[in-house]
Symmetry: C2
Subunit: 199 residues, 2 copies
């Protein structure tokens, strides 16, 4: 990547958007280790096309996607190719944490917005509301599964400081990413996420 | 269930809708064994609320849902409770098969509509188009996972003739169900699905 590529920091428990054109590369970095970034993506200008977990997993025939895998839209068109992945473990089955998640899973009542609320805030200029936040590509999220019972546990990410995923945009996109707000996802140490765009 | 409850047959490679009110029960039956039904559900009258795989799996902390589990909407509200399940294995990670699935996975070129196309046809009266077909609750679908590599294979369903799932509607819903068109899902023997509504 270009040495002079600017690094943007997503502060703990917040989100950012970035617009990509075909061929742009997006590098998502875990600067401190053990932090998750929930990523959602929509076609630009037609945001009815969105990054689809169900399509992507089906075409890969694998639950965990990594270098060489393609992430597909709901219209079965490539949205991203994973060019490089120094961590190797991400989740693509769960929806972003939300105030309801915190209430139902953690018993919290203070109404923190969670990744869902943070994604909605930054996607508001694109007219994408809360009902259109799908299952996210949860970068660095480590979900351990029992293949006999199907029970899973959210474990601390396997990412170390500096681990990154490099994605190539296969169409014009608006991408929203978070520094995750869920304690389980980051070992209860809420940290930032960094990203770079190589244009 | 009521002995006089009418059984509706979904012919092979097609779909049907049914409207449910709070407390209605929907029984989905595999009449011949080894057949899958892709199920999607939307709030009624507000179809922006839909059955969410990501919410349901997260709250159950289990990849495979069965008796006693609750299926949640994208708004984290209960849509169904699974009251009874004589099969015990279903999928909730993959999107319905489509003409693109057949092309990309099977190398087919004849453009069969698949479950996606069939769901869209029956949901047209509700104004729900193809971009709003999410990951389905794939009743009787048997996806075998390698917990080390994450690789999965679609196996023939574990359902025998007469196996069923009984769901209670926890809000007013429009539900669309298929008799699945994907060969892998039903051991390449395309069969019907039956259902009953207990009002």
């Amino acid at each position: 990547m270009n040495a002079d590529t600017a690094t943007v920091r997503i502060p703990p428990c917040s989100a950012r958007t970035v617009e990509l054109s075909l061929g742009h590369e997006l590098v998502i970095i875990d600067p401190e280790g053990q932090q998750v970034s929930d990523l959602v993506a929509f076609g630009r200008p037609d945001s009815a096309e969105y990054l689809s977990s169900g399509r992507s997993l089906d075409y890969a025939s694998r639950l965990w996607l990594t270098t060489g895998d393609v992430l597909y839209s709901n219209r079965s068109r490539p949205m991203f190719t994973i060019l490089e992945d120094t961590c190797g473990r991400h989740d693509f089955t769960l929806t972003p944490c939300s105030k309801d998640t915190f209430k139902l899973i953690y018993g919290e009542s203070e109404g923190r917005p969670g990744c869902e609320g943070n994604l909605v805030s930054v996607l508001a200029p694109y007219g994408i509301g809360v009902d259109r936040i799908p299952v996210a590509f949860n970068v660095f999220m480590h979900v351990e599964i029992d293949a006999t019972t199907g029970e899973f546990r959210v474990r601390p990410p396997r990412s170390n400081a500096g681990d990154f995923v490099r994605l190539r945009a296969e169409m014009p996109l608006v991408v929203a990413m978070t520094a995750c707000s869920a304690g389980q996802s980051n070992n209860f140490r809420y940290k930032p996420i960094d990203f770079q765009v190589v244009r």
